[in-house]
Amino acid sequence: MANMIDYKEKVLQVKNLKKYFRVGSGKRKLNIPAVDGVTFDIYKREVFGVVGESGSGKTTLGRTIIKLYQPTDGTVTLNNIAISAGILSYQEEIERIKKQLADDITSLDPLKIKAIDLRRKKELVISGLKKELINLEKDKLIEVTASTKQYDQFRADQYRTKALMTIDLQKVIFDYNQQVMKTNQRLQNESLLKYKNEVKIATLKRDNKLEGLQDSAALEKETIKQRIEVLNKDHQFFLLKLKETYQPQIDADAKNVLTKQQVNTLILGFAKDKNQKVMAIKADYQKQLKNLVEPDKTSYTKEKQKTEQKFAILKKEIEQKIVDANKSLNLEISKLPKSTTSNLKNPEIQAKITQLKTSANLKIRELKAKLSDAKRVNQSGDTLKESQKMQMIFQDPISSLNPRMTVKEIIGEGLIIQGKLSKKEIEKKVAQSLELVGLSPEYASRYPHEFSGGQRQRIGVARALIMDPNVIIADEPISSLDVSIRAQVINLLFALREKLGLTILFIAHDLSVVRFFCDRIAVMYNGKVVEMAPSEELFKNPMHPYTVSLLSAIPQPDPDYEKNRQRIHYNPRQHQYLTDLPTLQEIGPNHHVYANKAEFELMKKQYESVSKSTEKKGKVKA
């Protein structure tokens, strides 16, 4: 299948794509990076898989590429035409230049720098002290709970014995109720009642038939008579049979029937028995309750008070420290000589400032021009036309189809909006695309609710195909389908890809499906692509620790394998990215990993050793 891919032609190019969502307002306003700088190219007829957990930004990535969301930054290019672009990087650059300018100007004034340094120092000292306070509270909680532990244990024991007692009592009462119910039933002969009931029903049926026969005008009197005779005979025979079957049961039950007095005495006996049992259980548990020793309450309250006092003193000390630090540092700040504008009035400095300002303004003007270009890309008609060549299949086949539209309307909607084709032509195309996905064209006039889940997903595929797309973005097209139907839809996508030469961006969280279906896979974590490789390579030779942990988490339908499978944990804090910033680097042919320099060197060694060993194995086999 890999030889189908045309590696010369890039169909979809995604460059540094970012999508931020704005959350909250006022002080709580936050920009959440859902997709944070994703770059990849997809070649013609390739199936490119994007995998990740929920919240990793894979769906947002798909929707941003197809322009359901406006990108914050970066560009998307389809068939060498830019179809959407973001403006954040330009804005950020402008902000940065402005800030740099302000910083440069202040750096010409040494007094201001000193004041800033002092303020920073003050903040550091005070926040450190406040942290100590928080730690103190935690320690206090631990010590206080430790002192009351014994007493809590006693109460828990007490409670447990009471609970056990109620359970035992309930059991006894349940048994008693059952016995009473059963003896009450013995007042009557149950089988006799059943028999009588059946006889009643049978005679009722016969009477109905008789009435019908007697009133009938269509039959002659002779035939009516004959039929009545037959009916009566049948009825008698049926009754006899009934009696035969029920008689032994009735006789057996008759021995069991008791009078009311007998029943009452029996029940009285049961009640006595029950009361005795209840008394015994209660006495037993009372003994157990008495055996529990209550610890001395006064001693632990004293201990608690002691620890509380101790911590109160410690707390006061730290609070005093904060006040002192505040005072002394404030004093230092106030002692600094005030910076005045006269410092900057020196003509040499003035000349420097104007120079800085003009160069900064020039840069800003250039950036603003680029920014408006990017804005124009998003609105122009040409890009809109081009982006029609990209279509989407959605996850949920139920909510992605409008229940009030017929299949014909749903599939043809894109063409109707386009307005190029006549009604007849559209109908023809709808029928064609229905056949393409394996549905009968007669279904066109039905509504979505008349179809099963798999068929609905086929309708979703047909809707995407009718626009003759180059690229299809499939956002978890099989996640919400049933097991047996999943395979049907995957096979359909396979067949379509071979038939139409589609390029597919396949978004999913099910790794075994992705391995099976995709040529290349990108693993996403927290809005970033952490690893990108051809699918066999990724599964054989995962480099990034997140990929390793993800692969180790897939359960396989093989009990022996499952018994030995060990899940590897991924801790995002294991990376040290403070000074050495990570980037996406190529570690092997077509294999990219997100790592910083130090990590990359380690990975490279590991990668080379692994690939050597596999080569050796290959040679031995050959």
Partner: protein, 343 residues
């Protein structure tokens, strides 16, 4: 053999619907032993959820018990009145549902929801219940339990919410835990964590677990025994190894070959068609229409459960001594060959 804790005997349940009477389960029998995990596998609509809901007495109002009994502690749960069911449901038999968001109260702190079950079910005093709830939260792996006691469900992630639901289910020391697709709404890594938690709790508390899912990977991980259901009947039941490495029913074969595992490279064998309409169940074997190996008798008569070994049974005419030999599907054969060696 271990102690039998629950016994389902020939259970049949129908539902009244506007189109007629829908036969959801048609004669299901199995035993549950102490400390084992029984996985029930099948497509949606095969009756796995109805079986579990019948055990915990949570069937919808339009249900009819046609036949059979569920025996727990010498009582028949199908005939137990609602007042007496209260002392079993939640404290003896508990259930975890698929969607953790909709099974928690969104406007009550999660800790209180755990404590509530302790207070109402066994009359624990409030402060003790709170302490016990915090203990339980720590047990299911929630860090900073004391702080998180007062948080609301929306402040928890999906996996954490499922942990809360598990701690509520186990608050009253239940001995049977029914898990109705507890990880379908979760990610792979979180799913792994939750499965490990359930396995750990199962060993610690000697729980018996009924695990309902359609993910065969999860089944392989969890199950001691597996029951495969189709159209309201158990078509194959046996130990996990038996069902995976020596499957006998064509439906089990189809299930195994319709899911890609890390070793498949060819096209998938999809099961064609859809499950039958259970308002008008077919006369013969319900799977016959979608079955590649169907014989004439499959359309006429329902197959009985044939015995394969002491623990392994399957309902298919292929096991009849007169049946022709068939070649197994490729996926099943490779699974037997590569036993335990996928990678």
């Amino acid at each position: 053999m271990a102690e039998k804790i629950l016994e389902v005997k020939d259970l049949a349940i129908s539902f009244k619907t506007q189109y007629g009477i829908l036969q959801a389960i048609r004669g299901v029998s199995f035993d549950l032993f102490r400390g084992e995990t029984l996985a029930i596998v099948g497509e949606s609509g095969s009756g796995k959820s109805v079986t579990s809901r019948a055990i915990i007495g949570l069937l919808a109002g339009n249900s009819i018990y046609e036949n059979g009994e569920i025996i727990y502690q010498n009582r028949d749960l199908t005939k137990l009145p609602e007042e007496l069911f209260h002392e079993i449901r939640g404290s003896r038999i508990s259930m975890i549902f698929q969607d953790p968001m909709s099974s928690l109260n969104p406007i009550q702190p999660v800790g209180q929801q755990i404590a509530e079950s302790l207070i109402f079910k066994s009359g624990m005093p409030k402060d003790l219940a709170k302490k016990r709830a915090i203990e339980l939260m720590a047990q299911v792996g929630i860090t900073d339990a004391e702080k998180r006691y007062f948080q609301f469900p929306f402040q928890f992630s999906g996996g954490m919410r499922q942990r809360i639901v598990i701690s509520i289910a186990l608050a009253n020391n239940a001995e049977i835990l029914i898990c109705d697709e507890p990880t379908t709404a979760l990610d792979v890594t979180i799913q792994g964590q939750i499965l490990e938690l359930i396995n750990q709790l199962k060993i610690d508390r000697k729980l018996s677990v009924i695990f309902i899912t359609h993910d065969l990977g999860v089944v392989a991980n969890m199950a001691d025994r597996i029951a495969v259901m189709y159209a309201g009947k158990i078509v194959e039941i046996g130990k996990a190894e038996e069902v995976f490495y020596n499957p006998k029913h064509p439906y089990t074969w189809a299930l195994l070959s319709s899911m890609p595992n890390l070793a498949t490279s060819n096209r998938l064998d999809a099961i064609s068609g859809t499950p039958p309409n259970m308002i008008f169940p077919p006369k013969g074997d319900a799977f016959a229409e979608r079955n590649k190996f169907a014989m004439a008798i499959d359309f006429e008569q329902q197959p009985p459960l044939f015995k394969v070994s002491d623990t392994h049974y399957a309902a298919t005419w292929l096991l009849h001594p007169d049946a022709p030999k068939v070649t197994l599907p490729e996926a099943v054969v490779t699974l037997q060959k590569n036993r335990g060696k996928i990678k």
